[in-house]
Amino acid sequence: MSTVINIQPVTRIEGHAKLSITLDDAGNVADTKFHVQTLRGFEKFCEGRPVEEMPRTVCHICGICPWAHHLASSKAADACFGVTPPPTAVKLRRLMQSIAYVSDKILHFYFLAAPDFVIGPDADYGVRNVVGIVQAAPDIAKQVVHMRHLGAQMLEGFAGRAIHPTFSVPGGVSKPLTETERQKMLPSARELLEFSKFTIKFAKENVFPKYLDAIKSIGVIDVGCLGTVRDDGALDFYDGKLRMMKTDGSYEDFAYDDYLDYIGEWVEPWSYQKFPYAKKWGQFNMSPENPEGVYRVNCLARINVADKMATPLAQAELDEFRATFGRPARYTLLYHYARLIELLQAAETVVELLNDPEITGTDIRVPVTAKEGRGVGCVEAPRGTLIHDYECDGDGLITKLNMIVGTTHNNAAINLSVNQAAREVIKGGKYDQGILNRVEMAVRSYDP
């Protein structure tokens, strides 16, 4: 008789999910599923709302990456109304996004992922968590809390809010950065950069080497990648063209407005989350032996598609990473490593933008008039490529809305990684909480 193992909830992730692992008579893995159990319906209830209200409504989709939704939505609204924000406004949007990125990555690495690596995957769940980290490494924990607070203070001190912001608006932003505010932010930015440098060094010396076997065995799959690059091929979080890379490293670039030609979404009866796939590649299937049309997003995919990083320290890290793991790198647990390379780019970008003379400019919003139109906005959210696509009527009220959010792109890849990890660690009916946690570690890599 087959057995079904229900891991619910999947923990230390940012949503509601359940894993079901079906074992056959011999106790080997016959099937696995990653079920996303909630649906809120933003695509419907945003209909009829004024376009200019979208950036400060859809940020509520995600409390961890509200800035990503806020900015993708602002870009879609800019496009609906046919306006281009002034350069200073774009830089201020980028600044806020980069600060939010730093906070986000520190949070994931230390609070959500580290318990598996610092406390250990087999440790009792009572200590395999942030409280365990606080006890095991109190000095680092203190720093992490401080750095997260610093990031939140930078966002709040200038833009009022760290979570669910209102700062970005169609046509630009709501206020300029004064010289006083800039001076106040700079020391914090430098502190965050130093801590980012410490973090990647700490991880390379103390964390990743211990888990090389796990990195090479848990959740490993061979699928495509999607991310945003500038014209010069450098990784960009705010704007650029989309690059879709096949497993052999060949790729095609396209404008994000054309995403419908490249990306389709599939629905399965066992998950509220859809399954985006590479439409251009033909078929979609999630068979573990021969998946088709599956790609992934988020940091590992981004550093794979990018020719280079946009900042010098991050570039040095990418060189070192590629020398060891190649391009495209395939091991799923390397998401943790890639996340820290991006952390460095984000922290460097914050300092760079604060030193940009244009950042304190006062031309921050162009006039906007409501009119009929369609606009696609796209940014790289911490969790992956984020697409907002709005259509509105002559009053500027939303008539149609489509979104593909970061983790949704990863749905098929997460399912494949779960399947691979379960087959790898569960054999002959033998499993315990530590083994099941290893399956969850495959999920956590994607930071869903």
Binding site: N6, R40, K44, G48, P50, P269, R365, P367
Partner: protein, 314 residues
């Protein structure tokens, strides 16, 4: 001795949990006093046993339960009822739990209309039947605030609630108090802008242009947002978004208040009161497109937003 706490998010975005982590340095003092027996965001306790072989959802006993998010599906409803049974004090955290929150805007449609759109009318999706596997919980008839389902002892509203209030409410429970609430003040009561009780009149301006202000000067030198002609929900919204010391957060960003802390007290009619506030400074509140949703952006539970009879097509 540490107090057992159960925390979970229901129909939520995790912003409330991030706000807990944003408590800052006091978090490290608070953590040793709290024993999280369940918190999906941070600790690997499972509902169906650590090896996934249980058949009944198991919520550990705890002194304090903290729940963010509204109730959107049958499983969330069941989990909430279990948490209520197992905890002495139940805290609703955030405006989704308190009022339904932004996702309760879905209450303006029938459930089948939402599913029709999501699974059959999105431009990138291949149309399909609604997911119906037992592992995807069925939607409840509406997106509800949690006090529509169970009794709640303490409400900490906000989207998200300010860390000051989370720390204060939890600390007061740890010290043996049994209640906590924010003072009944409006956002305007804590807003330093200049008010002259009049505006330029006419229709309410849409958020298509910035306010007039001097960025080098503080909010005490800026004119009231309603009086500048925009919709600001400050007059009818509970104060507290900036914690114990700050000025209203959205206003600090030189943007209008969205109303995220909800009504100032139970039983008021914020939409009526807001339209009155706009009229009192000479603006025409009926000029606001989509005012039902805008004025109930966070408060669609408790029947505030519901399906209206179809209007004739223009």
């Amino acid at each position: 001795m540490a107090v057992n706490v159960v925390e979970d998010w229901l129909n939520a975005c995790s912003g409330c949990e991030i706000s807990i982590l944003n408590i800052g340095d006091p978090l490290l003092d608070l953590l040793p006093e709290i024993n999280f027996v369940h918190i999906t965001a941070l600790v690997d306790h499972k509902f169906f046993g650590q090896t996934g072989d249980g058949t009944v959802m198991e919520i550990p006993e705890a002194v304090v339960g903290i729940v963010s998010g509204g109730v959107r599906n049958e499983e969330q409803k069941h989990e909430l009822e279990e948490i209520r049974k197992k905890t002495k004090f139940l805290i609703s955290l955030g405006s989704c739990a308190a009022y339904g929150g932004v996702p309760a805007q879905a209450n303006m449609w029938k459930n089948e209309e939402v599913f029709e759109k999501v699974f059959r009318q999105c431009s990138s999706s291949t149309p399909a039947s609604d997911p119906d596997d037992p592992n995807v919980p069925k939607w409840t008839p509406t997106c509800a605030a949690i006090d529509e389902v169970v009794n709640v002892d303490i409400k900490i509203p906000g989207c998200p609630p300010h860390p000051d209030w989370i720390a204060e409410a939890v600390t007061s429970l740890l010290q043996g108090k049994t209640s906590w609430s924010l003072p009944e003040r409006s956002v305007c009561d804590t807003c330093p802008v200049i008010r002259l009780q009049k505006s330029g009149g006419g229709p309410v301006k849409r958020w298509l242009e910035n306010m007039e202000f001097d960025p080098e000067e503080g909010l005490e030198k800026m004119r009231c947002i309603n009086e500048q002609g925009f919709l600001c929900m400050g007059p009818v919204t509970l104060a507290g978004c900036a914690g114990k010391t700050g000025v209203p957060r959205c206003v600090q960003a030189r943007t209008p208040c969205r109303g995220c802390f909800g009504p100032i007290r139970k039983g008021v009619q914020p939409m009526v009161d807001m339209m009155g506030a706009l009229s009192s400074v000479g603006l025409d509140p009926k000029s606001i497109l989509d005012r039902r949703a805008l004025m109930n952006r966070y408060t669609g539970g408790h029947g505030n937003l519901r399906v209206l009879p179809a209007r004739p097509v223009k």
